[in-house]
């Protein structure tokens, strides 16, 4: 526990009668990919939203880098070192790929209250942005407007923006969704390397990717974590197989 970058302690969150998070405790350690799996509606995105600050938990505590961030805003958490990608793309759709990523670079460096110098000519920001775009493989689409990108490319773009933040931890909500087999494979090997830069809390439905990548897996069902452990442990966990994996792991 000592090297945990993110500590989620007894988080609960209800929407009316629905318990979307039910006493969730989970940690993400340096250097690891911690996969969060579970059926649709289990509360994975809700948990990510609470970690990122979009939703406030009803009870419980979230520690980021040893700091209690439970009451902090989205922007404050981002500035502390939280990089997030969304299940449903949250991008400036009329911006080009480059402009979206420049926004990330600007957020990281600060200085958004400068009113006079052309931002696209800022060499420092340009360099950060372009190298992030190159890393996710979007270089040839740099000047394309985001609304013209495929869903898979938007996913890659979200990752590129998160990269510019140089976060201490990544939260990724189904980054492979909408990607073809080829794209998933590329992203899988990219995330494999990325964990060396910062640990990843990865929500993903693509079980091949999860089993290939995860150091640990937590399984969420009806808002509750029913098991946390290594790939082998989870593959052979009876309750998990019953509740979620079904024939898939059989």
């Amino acid at each position: 526990m000592s090297d945990a970058v993110l500590n989620i302690l007894n988080i609960s969150k209800s929407f009316g009668a629905l318990k979307a998070s039910d006493d969730v405790t989970l940690d993400v350690r340096a250097g690891e990919i911690h996969a969060l799996i579970g059926p649709n509606g289990a509360g994975k995105s809700t948990l990510i939203a609470q970690i990122a600050g979009k939703l406030k938990p009803d009870t419980g505590k979230i520690d980021l880098l040893g700091m209690d961030v439970t009451r902090m805003s989205i922007a404050e958490r981002a500035n502390l070192g939280l990089g997030r990608t969304f299940q449903i793309s949250e991008l400036a759709m009329a911006y080009t790929v480059l402009e979206n990523v420049m926004l990330g670079a600007l957020g990281k460096r600060g200085g958004a209250f400068r009113f006079f110098k052309p931002v696209m000519k800022d060499a420092e920001l340009r360099e950060r942005a372009e190298s992030a775009i190159e890393r996710v493989g979007l270089s040839q689409h740099m000047n394309k407007v985001t609304s013209e990108l495929s869903h898979g490319q938007r996913r890659q773009l979200e990752v590129a923006v998160a990269l510019t933040l140089e976060p201490k931890i990544f939260l990724m909500d189904e980054p492979m969704a909408g990607m073809g087999a080829e794209g998933s494979k590329m992203l899988t090997s990219f995330l494999d390397e990325l964990r060396g830069q910062a640990p990843i809390l990865l929500v993903e439905h693509d079980m091949d990717a999860v089993f290939a990548l995860a150091d640990r897996i937590s399984v969420l069902v009806y808002g509750k974590v029913i098991a946390t452990g290594s790939v082998d442990y989870i593959r052979n966990h009876d309750e998990v197989r019953r509740a979620y994996l079904g024939e898939e792991a059989a």
Binding site: A52, K54, S73, I74, A75, E76, A78, N79, R84, F86, E90, L91, A92, M93, A94, Y95, T96, E99, N100, M102, L103, G104, L106, G107, K108, G111, A112, F113, R114, F115, F116, K117, P118, V119, M120, D122, V161, T164, L165
Partner: protein
């Protein structure tokens, strides 16, 4: 299609040309009409920053236009009657120096915009429109019920305020002042659009969550934009009052807010010259159609409807190729 930049140059030259031709032909009324278009355009440039780039649909910009107007009216009326505004705790006297009046107009309207923004930016959508409208109406009724400065009747200023080295009563010289200010402000807004602030502000309009996620605060960005926007519209108010040598609560009315918004919609939302084209068109229509029929607003309404339905980018959108800058 021609580029938007080229189109903008043509618009600026047409306005300057109109005033100069009117001057050569000794048509002071036409110069004054052109000046009016320039000043209203400036008010629109202010609103366009909040509306077009910030996505903040303010129906209360008359508050700033009126404040600028009354900054001029109050200062000049005290100078006219040689009575101080106040004597205690310290002495404040009136003035008829334009630069001083502009400064006061800018400070007053930006302070007011900051406060209104602080309170109304907590809401969004229709509520934001309603809250800004309500603040505008508050100032409107306040101006009506303030007898010291004319109340409902407004305030007349008999001599146009002065600008060092110029004869401001000469229509072409006053036009020159207003035109120069418009060009300067447009230059500033264009720089702002391409600046880090512009990138973040236009990003927040498209997707506030995205901006938040990279660690920036959309509320602060929008508040800053709203404040600058109010300051520009306030400056326009001071010039408008000087043009007419008269201020009245009409400047604070919601119809004024609506008209400023109409300039933007006519010309093109978020387009640098959108309000300029819109205000010029508005003045032309008012002059021509207003001469033909008392119900010219009906025709304006039809034109507006056509723009909204068939030319979403306004007149500029229909005539010029879109410039891609954070929009």
């Amino acid at each position: 299609m021609i580029s938007e930049r080229f189109f903008n140059y043509i618009v600026a030259l047409l306005i300057l040309g109109t005033a100069l031709v009117a001057w050569v032909m000794d048509e002071p009324f036409l110069i004054t009409l052109t000046t009016k278009a320039v000043i209203l355009a400036l008010a629109g440039v202010g609103l366009n920053l909040a509306l077009g780039q910030g996505g903040l649909i303010s129906l209360g910009h008359a508050a700033f236009f009126g404040l600028g107007g009354y900054a001029m009216g109050v200062l000049a009326s005290h100078a006219q009657t040689f009575t101080p505004l106040m004597e205690a705790p310290f002495l404040i006297v009136g003035t008829n120096s334009m630069p001083v009046i502009w400064l006061v107009a800018i400070v007053a309207s930006s302070l007011c915009a900051f406060v209104i923004g602080l309170l109304s930016l907590r809401t969004s959508g229709v509520y934001f429109i309603m809250v800004t409208l309500a603040f505008g109406q508050m100032l409107y009724y306040f101006s009506i019920s303030w007898p010291a400065y004319g109340g409902e009747d407004g305030l007349s200023i008999y001599v146009r305020n002065s600008f060092p080295g110029l004869n401001t009563l000469d229509p072409i010289q006053f036009f020159g002042i207003c035109f120069a200010i418009l060009m300067l402000v447009i230059y500033g807004v264009s720089r702002l659009t391409h600046s880090p602030f512009g990138l973040a502000l236009n990003g927040a309009r498209q997707n506030a969550q995205r901006v938040h996620t990279v660690g920036l605060n959309p509320f602060k960005l929008q508040l800053a934009a709203f404040t600058i926007s109010g300051a520009i519209t306030g400056l326009a108010g001071a010039l408008f009052a000087d043009l007419n040598r008269f201020v009245s609560p009409t400047m604070f009315s919601w119809q004024t807010s609506g008209e400023i918004m109409i300039f933007i919609i006519l010309g093109g939302v978020a387009r640098l010259y959108g309000p300029v084209v819109g205000a010029a068109l508005f003045i032309l229509l008012e002059h021509w159609l207003g001469g033909l029929s008392d119900f010219w607003h009906v025709y304006l309404g039809i034109i507006l409807l056509c723009v909204v339905l068939f030319a979403r980018g306004g007149l500029i959108g229909a005539l010029a190729k879109k410039e891609r800058a954070h929009v």
